[in-house]
Structure formats: structure tokens, C-alpha cells
Amino acid sequence: MAVNSPLQVTPEIEGGALAVSAVAVYFLVVIAIGIIFYRRSSSSTEDFWIAGGEISTKVQLFAFVAVYTSAGSFLGYPGFAYGFGAPVALAILIGATVGIVLFAIFLAGPIRRSGVYTLPAYLEMRYQSRYVRLVGAIIFGISAWAYVVPQLVAAAISFDFLFSGLGYAEGVIVTALVFALYVSLGGFWAVTWADFIQGIIIVLLTLVPIPFILLDFGGVGTAVSAGAEASPVFLESALPTSALIGAGLVFIFSILALPQSGQRILSSKDDKTARRSLVGAAPIYCGIFAISIFIVAGAALSLEPDLADPDFAYYLVMSEYFGPLLTGIGVAAILAAIMSHTDSLLIALSASVSHDIPSTLQMGLSERQEVLLGQGAIWIGVVTVALVALDPPGLLLELVTVVGGGIACGLFPAVGLGTWWKRANAWGAIAAMIAGFGLYGYLYFFVDIPAFSEILIALPLGILTFIAVSLVTRRPTDEEMLGFATFHSESIEAPLETTSDD
């Protein structure tokens, strides 16, 4: 958490009863969604993990926008543009957009056709190996847990601004409680409908400051030019080109392996729904945050070029243009972005702990036991994350990017390439996951290289490991191709004896 220097500015936003009420109403709505869906989500593991696999395109479209929008998007995009230049934020935004579309092309259909509940289970089905699932579940679990930290930090920052009687620590605790309640009670049904509402709020509130700014500055070009005058790096970049490219690549490949992406796909009604909603979400996501990068950050720089923390840029704009009610709704939108990203992560974390790992260890849990264990895992995950969030490291979007890089290097070869390369086998998958994730972590913590460049080394190595180990070990057997054949059901010329699907 940034310390306020007397020479740096922290914006003060107008709180008051109206603003607090707006946020309180939002919290009550999401908790109510959790309660409404409690019985349905507890009825089966399919309902708890993937909302029965029945979600339509219209709902999924906004749910995907919400899933991919986190604190790193809402606060981080304008924050990064403010602190490091618009090209840096743009590289990440467009990297994510490319990743979303490539996910739709490469993985949406096969994942949805798999019929499983989690991505680690997908890995087991693909490679016919519970060891692959176990390694995948561990990486997913760690990554999902780490990914929640910056989200909770952002939520607490919002609290710190809005509620004069509460501080950062109280914000961490209250937000953590709300997360844990509606996710553990309502499972993926609650997550889906909360995401749908949150997606709409996010789109609206990203765009709400724009008319105010344009009226004040006299147009788009003026607002952007004002930002450039206030900061020499706004339209250039404070980071080297390799860092920009690395940051963009992190998001391309991490989107392809994000735990919450998989859960969202598996909840779709069918593979057509999965593809359409992803491809539809991409331009919405890209468009609204491109506007935020240039106009919100430009205005923030012009209004105050010396913020204590670049992540305060959106708050600064709120403090300048919003009255109390709109401020409260704006904070609710930030919290919506955070929650929509976090709730799916919590489900993914919970699924790794209570579904994937027990299955690979052959613990023989009943559905009821799995749901209960999953609910417990959500609470434990949230509490431990909250403890870290009380004193977190780094800038929000930096944290998100770092974790995303680890996910990409650890999981993209096995998930992304393995879905389409039939020669890939379990040994290649395990070796790639360990090599990619391990090397990324080693480079990040122990080697001094330019920011976000770790993926440029660890990801190619993970891919090479995947290919090399698969090729030097035996080809998959006919039985081991069953999962692959299911993902690509048209790849077999003449279906033989088939089983009715009802």
C-alpha cells in the first residue's frame, strides 16, 4: 500500500450517506444472489462448480466482460497509463484482447465439449493421467490464490477512499467477508448472475466519466494533449519496448490458461455459446478500457500530475466530477470489477482443493462432501489472502501481470498446445508445467532482468520442454486418445457404436 508523502497527492472523494448507501446496496444485492442460489448450487457438484452448464450467450457475454475485468483493469489501466505511459497500458489491454479471441478459437469448443467441471479435470481427460491433473490443480490453486491478492487490495483502497470512518484494513476484512459469503453460499450460479450484473455496471461506469471529462476539456484530443503536456511519458513509455512486448505476451498467453476462463466456458450452454460470448466480449472489453487509458488517465494527469499512487487516477477523476451518489456507484463499479474477477478465481481455487486434488488422490468424496469442502476452501482462501492483502507488495497491475505470467508459462503448453497436438503426452505435460512455472518463478524472484521479460524466456522453454519430452517418450496409446477424440468429436471419420446423450 503506497505511503502518502507530503509532496504527493491523494485524492479525496466525496463520501457521505448517499455514496455509502450505494455501496451497501450493491453488497446486499450480491449477498442476496448468494442466498437465492444456495439451495440450487448445493444440490450437486455440477451446479456448484459450473452452474449446471446452462448459461446462455446473453448472460455469458457480460459475465465474460466482468470475468476479464479486475481491479487491474478498472484502476490499473488508467493507473498504468498515468504512471508509465499509455502504450504500456495499451500493450496489456490489447494483449488480453488477443488472448480472449485466441481462447475462443483454440479452446472454447474443446473445453466445453469435454463435459468436465474444472480445467485440471480437463487435463486429466486429455492426457488420461491423474498426475497431470494433480500438478495442474496445484498450479491452478496457487495461481488463483495469488491472483486474488491484488483484487482485495484494490477493494480495500476503495473503502479507504469512500468510508471516512473505515480504513484500509477494515476494507480488506469487509470485502473478504462479502466475497466469501456469496461465493460459498451460491456457488457458480451466484457467481454467474453476480458477474452478469457486474458486467453491465462495469461497462456503464467505465464510460460515465467520459462525457464529464470531454465537456471539461473540450474534446478527446484536448484531454489527451493535456495529459501529454502534464507528463512526458504519457504518449511514450517509461519502460523499454521489450517490457511492453513482454507485458502484452503475458496477457495473451495467461488468458489462454486463466482458471476462471475455464470455469466460465464450462458453464456455457454449448460450444457455440462459449465461442460467441467470448468473441462478443472482446471488443466491449477492449473498447471501454482503451477509452479509459487515454481519456481518464489524460484527464487525471492534467488535473494532478503528482498522485501518491498511479492507481488513484480513477479516484481522482471521481473526486473531480462525481457527486456523492455517482461516487458511491463508481466505487460499487470498482468493487464489481474486483468481485467479478475474484469470485470465479475463488471457485477455481476451491475446485482445485476440494474436487481435483481429492479426485487424483482417490479419496472417494461424495458430492455433498465435495461441496462442503469447497465451501470451506473458499473461506480459508479468502482469510489467507486477506492476511497478505493487509500489507501487499507492488502496483496492482504489476501484481496481476506477474501472476498471469506464471500461469501462462506453467499451463499454456499443456492446455493450449495439448488441446490441438495429438502427439502430446502426459510426460510432456508434466515436464512443461514444472519447467515453465518453476523457471518463471526463479527468474522473477532471483534474476535481475527487465520488467515483464520473464515470460520471454520461461514460456518458450516450457513449450520446447513440452514438445521435446512428448517426442522422446512414447506416443499416446489408442485408449489415451479418448479425451482428445471427445474434444474434437468430428475428427473421427465414421462414428461407430454410439451412446444416446440423454
Binding site: V98, R113, V116, A121, K422, A485, T486, H488, P495, T499
Partner: protein, 134 residues
């Protein structure tokens, strides 16, 4: 390998769970089916004993050609967007650097290609569905 039988189907969706798997030398009556409660877009899977590695050809899938073309287009755009900013000298007086323009173009190419991909795949799937119905 993931397997299914009538008892499991009655209990609910099938998981690729080791504890539920049949022994390796599966009988011909044992069929493998992925989650029978899911939608009609999931094709049934043939018996494990009938599947051969050599029989699997991704070129037959509806997604193959659209995916290949779309990926090539996006890949080319990404290559240009990553190589050109490194190769070109920094801009002089322009208000937006080349990186911003190139990555903006990458975003547009990606979104348009994605929409084209969905349209193409669904067109192929609809044509195949129509010819099967005949």
C-alpha cells in the same frame, strides 16, 4: 480412461475420475461418453476398443480451417506489432508512437478476425447439420 455406464449416468454427470474407471481391458459393451446431461452439441464417443490413434484427423473438424486462417491472420498482425517497433528508430515529432498505432491495428484485426471465425465455423456446422439431416 473415462467410462460410463447406466448406473453412473443415473447419478449425474460423468467425471474422468480414476475411482470410477473400468479396468484397462474394457469389454466392448462398455462405452465412454462425456457428461450425458450436457447439450446436443456433444457427440457421442465410440467405444474405447474401436478408437485408433491414426483415425483421428483434426482436418475433419469444423474448427480446423477457420482456426488455422484466423490464427495466421492474428499471428501475422502480432508479429508486425512486435517486430516493427523494435526495428524502427524511435519516432521524432509524432504525437503517438508507432507502437500505439500498431497495437491499435492489432486489436482491430483481432476482433474482426474473431467475429469472422465464429461466423465461418457456424456456417460449416450448419451445412454439415443440414447434409446429415438429408
Amino acid at each position: 480412461m473415462p467410462v460410463d455406464n447406466e448406473d453412473q449416468r443415473a447419478e449425474g454427470p460423468i467425471e474422468p475420475d480414476e475411482s470410477k474407471r473400468q479396468p484397462e481391458n474394457t469389454s466392448d459393451e462398455t462405452t465412454a461418453s462425456m457428461n450425458p446431461l450436457r447439450t446436443e452439441s456433444i457427440e457421442e464417443v465410440k467405444t474405447a476398443s474401436d478408437l485408433r490413434y491414426e483415425d483421428i484427423d483434426l482436418r475433419r473438424t469444423a474448427e480446423f480451417k477457420p482456426g488455422l486462417v484466423s490464427t495466421a491472420i492474428i499471428g501475422l498482425a502480432l508479429l508486425v506489432a512486435t517486430v516493427v517497433p523494435v526495428a524502427l528508430p524511435p519516432s521524432g515529432e509524432a504525437s503517438f508512437p508507432e507502437f500505439t498505432y500498431l497495437w491499435g491495428l492489432l486489436a482491430i484485426v483481432t476482433v474482426v478476425t474473431g467475429l469472422g471465425y465464429v461466423y465461418w465455423v457456424e456456417k460449416i456446422e450448419d451445412e454439415r447439420g443440414a447434409s446429415e439431416a438429408q
